[in-house]
Subunit: 110 residues, 2 copies
Amino acid sequence: MMTTYEALADPTRRRILDLLRERPHLVGELVEQLKISQPLISKHLRVLREVDLVHVRQDAQRRWYMLNAEPLAEIDAWMEPYRHLWSERYDRLDTLLNTLQQEEKQDDQT
Amino acid sequence: MMTTYEALADPTRRRILDLLRERPHLVGELVEQLKISQPLISKHLRVLREVDLVHVRQDAQRRWYMLNAEPLAEIDAWMEPYRHLWSERYDRLDTLLNTLQQEEKQDDQT
DNA sequence: CAGTTATATAACCAATATGGTATATTATCT
DNA sequence: AGATAATATACCATATTGGTTATATAACTG
């Protein structure tokens, strides 16, 4: 069985989610937008369904797929303790760049 | 070549990152902590190195692996527009259904 | 009912990932 | 130099994945 992480590992599936974030889509709409064969879209949707990242509502022969973002909360929670780490790094880079710029300025003044 | 998403898809690699978040580790320490064969740990480290999630510092025959959280920023950025969605969902009609499904999943996971 | 539309599934293939065992590499120590 | 320690890589078998084409299912339409 798939995990949410594995489901997100595929770029096509991320693009599907990005489209569903705006509004629910029919399978055919996704096929058209992403220019990917219908069976393959259906396969990806199956994976997304399995990890509950999408919900479906049937409407005659059509199926409306809609986003369910909730499983992403798990990943968000995993990332939480990492989040300050790359900002720290940027801060340090920032100070370094500032320092260099200061030095340049002083060089220019001569 | 791997993406950051794919690198995170493997649970062992996530556990490695979790350990490195606390402090740098030697390969042997990771082997001991995770109880996974040394070659396999090395392989996973190679993947993490390829996507730049870890940096290495050599110290005689030993190698200190340390976390580089920066590539996670990309994923964090991708998740950003989703983040408000899983809190908004609470006032929807299918909240009850979702909740029940989530509970079932969580029960399964234990 | 026959035909059409929308989607899912089956069967198959190629490429890749995973995990195991054996071996190579590199540095240190005696 | 030979032995040892720490880590990386090679090689192999198996499983999984992403993709294709063909077919099944299910609902609507004339």
